[in-house]
Amino acid sequence: MTELRESLIRKRYAAERRFRIYGASALVLTAVFLALLLASIISQAVPAFTEKTVVLDVMIDPAEADPANPAAGNYDGMVKAALKQVLPDARNRAERKALNGLLSSGAGDELRRMVIADPALIGQTVTLPVLLSADATLYLKGLQARVAVSAGAAPVAIAPAEGGEGLILTGPGVSTEPGLSPGQIVMSGSAALRITAVESGTASAEALTPIDASLSALTPGTWKTLSFSAPEADRRTSDLQATWLEQLKDAGRIETGFAWRFFTAGDSREPELAGIRGALVGSLLTVAVALALALPLGVAAAIYLEQFAPKNRLTDLIEVNINNLAAVPSIIFGLLGLAVFLNFFGMPRSAPVVGGLVLALLVLPTIIIASRAALKAVPPSITEAALGVGASHQQAVFHHVLPLALPGIMTGTILGLARAFGETAPLLMIGMVAFIADVPHGFTDAATVLPVQVFLWSDLPELAFKNKTAAAIIVLLAVLFVLNAAAIYLRRRFERRW
């Protein structure tokens, strides 16, 4: 008898221990996946928050900019000319194009803004940081292909190859560690050579930039090699561009700054110019419309259903349907918006007002359910107390029950808004998925929203947009985090216990 009892006790303890282990392992697993997800997003997003610029001394050519109309000046040309002064080696059209490709297509915009603000600058030379192109930026951040820069440790002699193009490199620097290998670039000042072959202590090379004929030897410390993890054909930055960037870096002209542009610019086809301002404003406008509609409607519906409506089949039916609506896939609401708001009412496509209407429909059930729960949670003794001193039913509800339910209603509303903020599918149906470069200024301007922006960017092939996607996700997560924190704060701050 006691043995049986003891074995039962042992089994009970073992079962409890097992249960605790299951719970703990589930938690650990979840935490690990969450950490992996966040780490992957954050590590991808970090490069998007910095931008690389090259500091140039730009001569604002009076021939290119008219003081009467400074906006029309050819600022891109001036910036390119300034770059050419620093890197004069481009020999032909293709190389000049490659050189200009280092600069962003919006490189002249900053200069234009400066001149518009102060036309007196025309005719002067200004020193300013000029935005680099996305490919150049990726190269400098080491994200495109891994670049190893190693200083030459031993002397190398350079001689022209016999009977033809190219150069021959000899000397201890060719074979002593780290040595030279095909595909590498040897740089010394503005001179750059590409190694084409290495054979028993002798390397053949071709000139990337014009080589001064007097250059016959490289002493240790004056030269370095660049070796890439991918061949030139697989890189967006050519060997020549890489040497230019390295030269700019050596000249101390490359600067790294926080990419405010990411928060102040609208969408763009150029990754280095693209920002989330347009999507963020679109999201705010859309959610504002949704809130303005869903909150009063939802709360009013909840108060009526919970406090005043007679309990009969009709109200039961309405209640069941509201609960079901909360579970309808969101894209259905998008289809509804397309059919009703766009096709029937002829409202503008891609507009935040339509997006807000659709999202209001989407979050209305959530708000009604949360508000009803909050109203129901107010103890009936409060209503009775109010009725007991001669308040009417309506007075009891509006003076006592509603204020007490308000924190719960706000919590539900904020969570509903958070859902609306992160919603993508229904907005695709009403055309908020277009490429829109302008920041929307009103409720009827074409706009997109943050999650749709994430969706759009994630589809683009450019590597830089991968970082932008992750950065936009971070911003979206931050907004949702703030909304949820606000909901929790409200709940904690105003929560009452009876």
Binding site: T383, G388, V389, G390, H393, Q395, L404
Partner: protein, 273 residues
């Protein structure tokens, strides 16, 4: 009629006799209350005098609270509840469709089983009723009403320095006296109390009982209680309910010393209930 006995005992509810010396406040005739199909009160008739405390006693589920809530139509809030018969307060049939139920509840105040102050300031708790009934023209008048009500409820000295503090922060007994102050602030004629001391400790209970004794000088008080000692201590009249009927109603002293009905005696002596 014996002059030494102030009230004559109503032996059967079907034959109520007018009780001497005190004017009648509430008169009920043939009251039935139903919750859906459940017949909670069956043909109840009773006369409740003014300026006295009437106690309703009886086992749980006997209908005493139901009848109490019928007196200020609090049962209206329960959709399935139906009341028939007549309940008249000072000549006004309170179930008359022309009667405004909100006005009725201002005349017939109520104190509940569990102290239920509004989760607002002590001042606001008391001022709420006078304010919605427009009883004060300005803040000064309202202040007077609040102070008088709290004084009558014996709470003024304890809370006068913290009127802005929440009423829910008071002790249970203080909360219940706050609820009484809130009820008397609207100047009711009748105060209904539904087991007002069941959630309180003996000291708080003693204070409330003292208060009830004072209040009966000015109000018609009806109290539902599970404590027979309490009924004996505070009430002048006692009504014993059982299974939805009024079994016996009469002078409290007589009821507890010489009940007329066997069921009353069994209940009082603790044989059931």
């Amino acid at each position: 009629m014996n002059a030494a006995v102030p009230y004559q005992t109503v032996v059967t509810p079907a034959s109520p006799r007018i009780m001497a010396e005190r004017p009648m406040k509430i008169t009920a005739r043939g009251v039935d209350v139903y919750y859906g199909d459940k017949h909670a009160i069956n043909q109840l008739s009773i006369d409740i005098p003014d300026r006295a405390v009437s106690a309703f006693i009886g086992p749980s589920g006997c209908g005493k609270s139901t009848f109490l809530r019928a007196i200020n139509r609090m049962n209206d809030t329960i959709p399935s509840c139906r009341v028939t018969g007549d309940i008249v307060i000072d000549g006004d049939d309170i179930y008359d469709s022309k009667l405004d139920v909100v006005q009725l509840r201002a005349r017939v105040g109520m104190v509940f089983q569990k102290p239920n102050p509004f989760p607002k300031a002590i001042y606001e708790n008391v001022a709420y009723g006078p304010r919605i009934h427009g009883m004060a023209k300005n803040k000064a008048e309202l202040d007077v009403i609040v102070e008088q009500s709290l004084r009558k409820a014996g709470l003024w000295e304890e809370v006068k320095d913290r009127l802005a503090h929440p009423g829910t922060g008071l002790s249970g007994g203080q909360q219940q006296r706050l609820c009484i102050a809130r009820a008397i602030a609207v100047n009711p004629e009748v105060i209904l109390m539904d087991e007002p001391c069941s959630a309180l400790d003996p000291i708080a209970t003693a204070k409330i009982e003292e208060l009830i004794d004072e209040l009966r000088q000015n109000y018609c008080i009806v109290i539902v209680t599970h404590s027979m000692q309490q009924a004996a201590r505070v009430s002048q009249l006692t009504a014993f309910f059982h299974l939805g009927t009024l079994v016996e109603y009469g002078d409290t002293d007589e009821m507890f010393t010489a009940p007329q009905e066997k069921r009353t005696q069994d209940y009082i002596t603790g044989r059931f209930g």
